[in-house]
């Protein structure tokens, strides 16, 4: 893997925004391999050739957490490597929680 092509989770936000109706960089993911928990914005994204879609990896152990491919009329979302995804729904409860964490 060419280290130079490494980007941040932010770079996948556009692709994820095609699938999810939420802002996804503030969603939290737990890695199924090393159990570390990160914001999607803090994950690693490798810039693949466009046809291979977007690959999002764990910054701790490099495990593939998500793969998004848009191909012949379908979105493919593979999330085998992620235990769960916790997505703020944008409501005031989530906003209040974020404020309380500050």
């Amino acid at each position: 893997m060419d280290e130079q092509l490494k980007l941040d989770g932010n770079a996948a936000a556009g692709s994820l925004g095609e699938v999810f109706p939420f802002e996804m960089t503030m969603a939290e993911v737990v890695c199924d391999h090393c159990a570390s928990e990160n914001f999607v914005g803090a994950l690693m994204v490798y810039q693949p050739p466009m046809t291979l879609g977007t690959v999002v990896r764990c910054p701790g152990c490099d495990n593939v957490l998500m793969r998004v491919v848009h191909n012949s009329g379908h979105y493919w979302l593979e999330m085998r490597g992620a235990r769960h995804l916790r997505i703020p729904d944008g409501s005031s409860v989530a906003a209040g929680e974020a404020a309380a964490e500050e």
């Binding site: 280290e3 130079q4 092509l5 490494k6 980007l7 941040d8 989770g9 932010n10 770079a11 936000a13 556009g14 925004g17 095609e18 699938v19 999810f20 109706p21 939420f22 802002e23 960089t25 503030m26 914001f39 999607v40 914005g41 803090a42 810039q47 466009m50 500050e102």
Partner: protein
Amino acid sequence: MATQPRPAAQPGRLLWRVGEVFEVVEETPTTKSLVLSVPGWEGHKAGQHVDVRLTAEDGYQVQRSYSIASAPEDERLAITVDRIEDGEVSPYLTEDLMAGDGLELRGPIGGYFVWERGLGGPLLLVAGGSGVVPLMAMLRHRAASGSGAPAKLLFSSRSQEEVIYRDELERLAEADEKLEVVHTLTRSQPEGWEGYARRIDEEMLREVAPSPSEEPLTFICGPTPLVEATAAALVELGHDPAGVKTERFGPTGG
């Protein structure tokens, strides 16, 4: 499968739309700002980006991400693009696109690499080359919103001519004693230059960055090697990794 009705696109999803180039501003010999009019633009936060998509006559499409340069308070959306020699997208954006042309884009995108007035400070911003773009949106927002958060920008450029937003940064820093802008010029320096003249390293960060005990909100943006070296050095200096946010732009530059 084919007989099943397709669900309608959800309103919350990110959709492509067409903006119009309102103005092209030359920032440096290789960098231009594109000021855009985007009908129905809902506003953005400093640090977010847009995806830009170009479509060739034969239908071939390419897309790239560009950080938003303008403050949320500004009337129009702006991006700043550095021309990468032999690039697929940036030479078109910096050389062919003119006022009045349409540009397909989607956004605003992102919420993690974002600073808003309410988050306070102190702010530590570290940029290499065009990596200054989202950090400039933060500084513009900081000024426009009257935030008194102390802020420091450490900005690495190859030469003085290649310093993006040089005049505006100077003006902002002169008018504001809580803002400090520190340049390092890595390839060539003007005569009499007394500032840094090397790549960003741990020693430079020790001198420039607030101490870890001040718990700065840190945003690092630019070419991937610069971002990684800076983030690693800050953690080495004792900064909490959770307070250090990064945005890698790709291979080189800066």
